[in-house]
């Protein structure tokens, strides 16, 4: 109670500082008046009595201060005065203040942004109840979590580790509310999905496991909150409304809460639909296909007391049983539990590695900034050594002087931190609404939360104390007598000081950043120009999902043919091809396992190769720009009635037939035993991503395989915008209700290049920051060394020294440190870029341009940083200098 009172008093004292001051002043004045009354009574005049009373009383200021201290306002009062003093000092040197605040704002801002991303993507658990025990099941070999629907059901019922197991797949569909169909993204989910996750509806109700009664039995959808907001304008009346999904009627059951976006962190689906109705969305049913690993992911909460390892063993034994029970349809691969939010380690591992690396780099930048400001600060403290000495001589304690220094440092860092936080919050807000790929509902969920603000505050305080502590030793060493007696201090001489090491360290850090960002940018430009096995330039991708417009069966190829024919008539179009999925545009390509002709037991383990499968029209190879090395392309005659044929790539030929020569004309077996004749061989390419190893690929005629989900490749020459408009016009003529999405192939590659782009941009930003830090560091050091040696320089000039000699004397040391730091940083940078090769395709430090670029960048930086001090050194007027002393 007492403690609380005392605390309250202190806090009140802190806040009512001025009020207390006024009261105290009044009390002391009243005292003096009373004393003067007494003196007046003894015969003095009023004026004289007052004067005498004041003298008797002594220093009002001192008494006031002592009273403050006694009243508990001690800490606050001193702090307040220190702050006032610090403000005055900072206002007196705006250059220093601006440099310091900007440096810290950049450094702390960078750290805040990176930490916010780390926090949002890695540290923060998924926004569902009991996220701790939520796990998904992944194959260790490729991190995939795919299952076929029958196997999912068995897995769900057989396992003894999960409370329940939910499943979902990501699909696209046309959602028609009466106007034009809208291309939307949905999650086809198991009926128990919301119950497994423990999500409660925002509006209406969710569907449950009990709603599933066989194929197409649950024509219900649940809208995501964002979609409800943007397409239904928060209309509570949507519950119960019937909408068309791919021309099938579905009833809107409810709306999901705003905080729920499914369980994939980056992906925001538009609505949720029971997967038993999958056939209505995709046209053909996969619910009984045990070999079709159609489900994207299964997940559930572990039962209490079950560890992920135990659950892993459980699902592995079930998977082993599947292989025994269904040898034709299932090959067991070792499974493990992982977190669903980043698709296990598939995205989780690179994201973790990248963000951790970024965090380390940002931390290094902050340290460099602190080192930098520490030396600037120490230089200022040295400039103020006379003042410090005077204060010490007048009886200030060293603690008091040091506290003053820290107040100044922390004040700067807090201002810098506030500016940095403000900037980073703006950046994060923008990032959170940024949609990197217009065709996917993907965004970066990095909104800052309390943790981020606290971390930013702690970083600011930490850096304040860190760089504030640099001049402490200097103050402790200060001897008032020496300094006041002898004027400015004698110079240090040639020995290497801690400050030099700081400057070298930050120059090296900067050089590391500059080198690695140049490597990243070079890698990126390389990968843009490398050979993909196709030519993405001047190709328009036209995505039409005919399902969405209700095309089924034979209507699909007929419509595809009509679309190709119509588009071919547009002037400037040189080739039109159809493919089920263009390479390097989505990570989810179809695959097929193939067998040698002589293989008779067609089980997965006996497969000769697993190939990426492209279902293509005759014009595809020409439209894609993939070179045919041997044999022929498909023709219109390769249709359902003709014998099955295929075009393969070199890798396929090597794997299945041993060599490329003579592969044409040979046959392989499909899974169903059908023999397929190879009619052509094309060059290898990149199919899923740029860093993949060469994969076997297989092209089959679209007329022999049939798919309604096609991308049309239109090779053209001319302006992409105009072509897009022309193509849209043609499609509209054919079917006004057909949803389409157009994009140039180069733009579509953005998805694949995204990680490298992010890496290059982030490194570039960090590099720019590192450069700014180095500039301020060298600038501070050079300016300090010039101002310390102004007198010496003046004398040298008076004695006839040349400009070059003056510069050498003034800045030689700064340049030597710059050279040393750059070389050290360059070597470290080249070592560090080994890490980069995991993210950026073809990132290599063994590249003359990298070396030259880094050297040029560092020299420019040095020139920029020493420009002003050099000018100052050259402008020294010996006469003025000598007169001053």
């Amino acid at each position: 109670m007492k403690l609380l009172d005392s605390l309250r008093f202190r806090v009140a004292a802190l806040f009512h500082h001025s009020e207390m001051n006024a009261e105290m002043e009044e009390e002391l004045r009243s005292h003096i008046e009373h004393r003067a009354d007494d003196l007046e009574r003894s015969g003095l005049s009023r004026a004289e009595a007052l004067r005498r009373a004041r003298i008797e009383f002594g220093g009002l200021e001192r008494v006031g201060e002592e009273c403050h201290e006694a009243a508990g306002g001690n800490l606050g009062g001193t702090l307040f005065r220190d702050l006032q003093f610090a403000f005055r000092l900072l206002r007196k040197s705006p250059g220093f203040t601006v440099v310091a605040v900007l440096t810290l704002a950049l450094a702390i801002g960078a750290n805040t942004v990176v930490f916010a991303a780390l926090n949002a993507i890695i540290l923060r658990p998924l926004n569902v109840p009991r996220a701790d025990s939520l796990y998904s099941i992944h194959r260790i070999s490729d991190n995939s979590a795919n299952w076929s629907y029958p196997n999912y059901l068995e897995l769900r019922d057989r396992n003894r580790s999960f409370e329940d197991l939910a499943a979902f797949n990501i699909l696209q569909a046309g959602l028609d509310t009466g106007d034009n169909p809208d291309r939307s993204w949905l999650l086809a989910v198991s009926g128990n999905y919301f119950d497994v996750l423990g999500i409660q509806p925002h509006l209406g109700r969710f569907f449950h496991g009990s709603d599933e009664r066989g194929p197409n039995s649950a024509p219900y959808i649940v809208l995501s909150n964002a979609y409800w907001h943007s397409h239904f304008h928060d209309d509570a009346g949507v519950v119960g409304r019937v909408v068309q999904v791919n021309k099938h009627p579905f009833t809107i059951l409810g709306v999901a809460p705003p905080s729920f976006h499914g369980t994939i962190l980056f992906f925001n689906p538009d609505f949720y639909l029971p997967m038993v109705n999958q056939e209505q969305i995709e046209g053909t049913s996969v619910l009984n296909a045990r070999a079709n690993r159609w489900i994207f992911m299964t997940m559930g909460h572990l039962k209490p007391g079950v560890t992920p390892e135990q659950a892993g063993a459980d699902v592995n034994s079930i998977s082993a049983y599947f292989e025994k029970a269904y040898p034709k349809d299932f090959a067991h691969k070792t499974l493990a539990l992982a977190r669903p939010s980043l698709y296990g380690d598939f995205l989780g591992k690179p994201a973790r590695a990248f963000l951790t690396a970024l965090m380390v780099l940002a931390g290094l930048i902050l340290l460099a900034a602190c080192a930098n400001l520490g030396s600037l600060f120490a230089a200022r403290a040295a400039d103020r050594s006379r003042e410090v000495a005077l204060r010490l001589a007048l009886g200030a304690t060293r603690t008091r002087v040091i506290r003053q220094l820290f107040t100044e440092a922390v004040l700067i860092s807090l201002i810098g931190g506030a500016v940095g936080l403000w900037g980073s919050v703006l950046l994060l807000r923008w990032l959170a609404t940024w949609q990197p790929f217009p065709q996917f509902p993907i965004n970066v969920p990095v909104s800052p939360d309390t943790t981020v603000y606290v971390v930013a505050l702690l970083l600011a305080l930490f850096s304040g104390f860190l760089f504030g502590s640099v001049p402490v030793r200097q103050v402790l060493r200060t001897s008032p007598y020496e300094i006041v007696k002898s004027g400015s201090r004698t110079t240090h001489g040639r020995r290497i000081t801690g400050r030099d090491i700081l400057v070298v360290a930050q120059i090296s850090i900067c050089a590391v950043l500059v080198t690695s960002s140049i490597v990243a940018v070079r890698g990126l430009t390389h990968s843009m120009r490398s050979n993909f096995g196709f030519e993405p330039r001047n190709v328009m991708l036209v995505n039409t999902i005919l399902d969405m417009a209700g095309y089924r069966g034979d209507a699909v190829p007929a419509m595809q043919k009509r679309m190709s024919d119509a588009i071919e008539t547009i002037p400037g179009v040189t080739a039109v091809g159809l493919v089920n999925g263009a390479p390097l545009t989505n990570g989810d390509l179809e695959g097929a396992i193939v067998f040698r002709e002589e293989t008779t037991d067609l089980k997965p383990a006996n497969a000769a190769a697993s190939a990426v499968l492209f279902k293509t029209s005759p014009g595809y190879l020409r439209a894609a720009g993939t070179s045919l090395l041997a044999g022929r392309q498909f023709t219109e005659q390769d249709d359902k009635n003709a014998p099955p044929v295929a075009v393969i790539n070199q890798e396929f030929a090597r794997k299945v037939f041993g060599s490329v020569d003579g592969a044409v004309g040979r046959t392989y077996k499909r899974r169903d035993g059908t023999r397929v004749q190879v009619v052509g061989v094309v060059e290898d390419g990149k199919y899923e991503n740029l860093t993949e190893n060469t994969k076997a690929a297989l092209y089959v005629p679209i007329l022999q395989s049939g798919t309604s989900d096609t991308a049309m490749l239109v090779r053209f020459s001319g302006d992409p915008q105009q072509f897009a408009a022309a193509i849209r016009g043609k499609l509209h003529e054919l079917d006004p209700g057909l949803p389409s999405f157009l994009q140039t192939w180069s733009d579509a590659l953005g998805l694949i290049l995204f990680p490298s782009r992010v890496a290059a941009v982030s490194l570039g930003l960090l590099g720019i920051m590192g450069a700014m830090l180095s500039i301020t560091g060298i600038f501070g050091m050079a300016a300090y060394s010039v101002s310390k040696r102004l007198r010496e320089l003046g004398i040298r000039m008076a004695l006839g020294a040349q400009r070059r000699e003056v510069l050498q004397a003034a800045l030689g040391r700064a340049f030597r440190l710059l050279a040393f730091g750059s070389v050290a940083g360059l070597i470290l940078g080249i070592l560090a870029t080994r890490v980069l090769t995991f993210i950026v395709y073809q990132a290599t430090p063994r590249d003359p341009i990298v070396l030259a670029g880094a050297v040029v960048a560092m020299s420019l930086l040095g020139l920029l940083a020493t420009w002003i001090p050099a000018q100052r050194a050259l402008r020294v007027d010996p006469l003025i200098l000598l007169r001053e002393e």
Partner: protein, 113 residues
């Protein structure tokens, strides 16, 4: 001045509490009262009084009120709180014990040991 004793460290608080125990007083009044109580033998520097007063207020031993003084001037009056009264009793007892102990220590004769 020579006949005025410097007060012992730590006794200022006790003197203030005692002075105020006889009735509410303002700062200058406390000074006068202490002088009066000690027959002008104890000198308290005017400036030293106020930090002491503030300390006692902070400890909850004194409470303050603004009022009008006998000179018809606005002044801040101090008076004892219950805690202050209790403290005065304790401190007085302590002081008396101390004085007795020191006095007997000083008065002791070699043969008595």
């Amino acid at each position: 001045m020579a006949d005025q004793a410097q007060i012992l460290p730590g006794t200022l608080d006790l003197l203030i509490l005692r002075a105020v125990s006889l009735g509410p007083l303002h700062g200058y009044g406390i000074l006068l009262r202490i002088g009066q109580m000690s027959g002008n033998a104890l000198l308290i520097e005017q400036g030293a009084l106020y930090p002491g007063l503030f300390r006692l207020v902070r400890q909850g031993l004194l409470k303050t009120n603004w009022g009008t003084s006998e000179n018809n001037r606005k002044a801040k009056f101090y008076e004892l709180t219950a805690a202050g009264r209790k403290r005065l009793r304790e401190e007085t007892a302590n002081w008396n014990r101390l004085v007795t102990a020191i006095a007997s220590a000083l008065a002791i004769q070699p043969e008595e040991i």
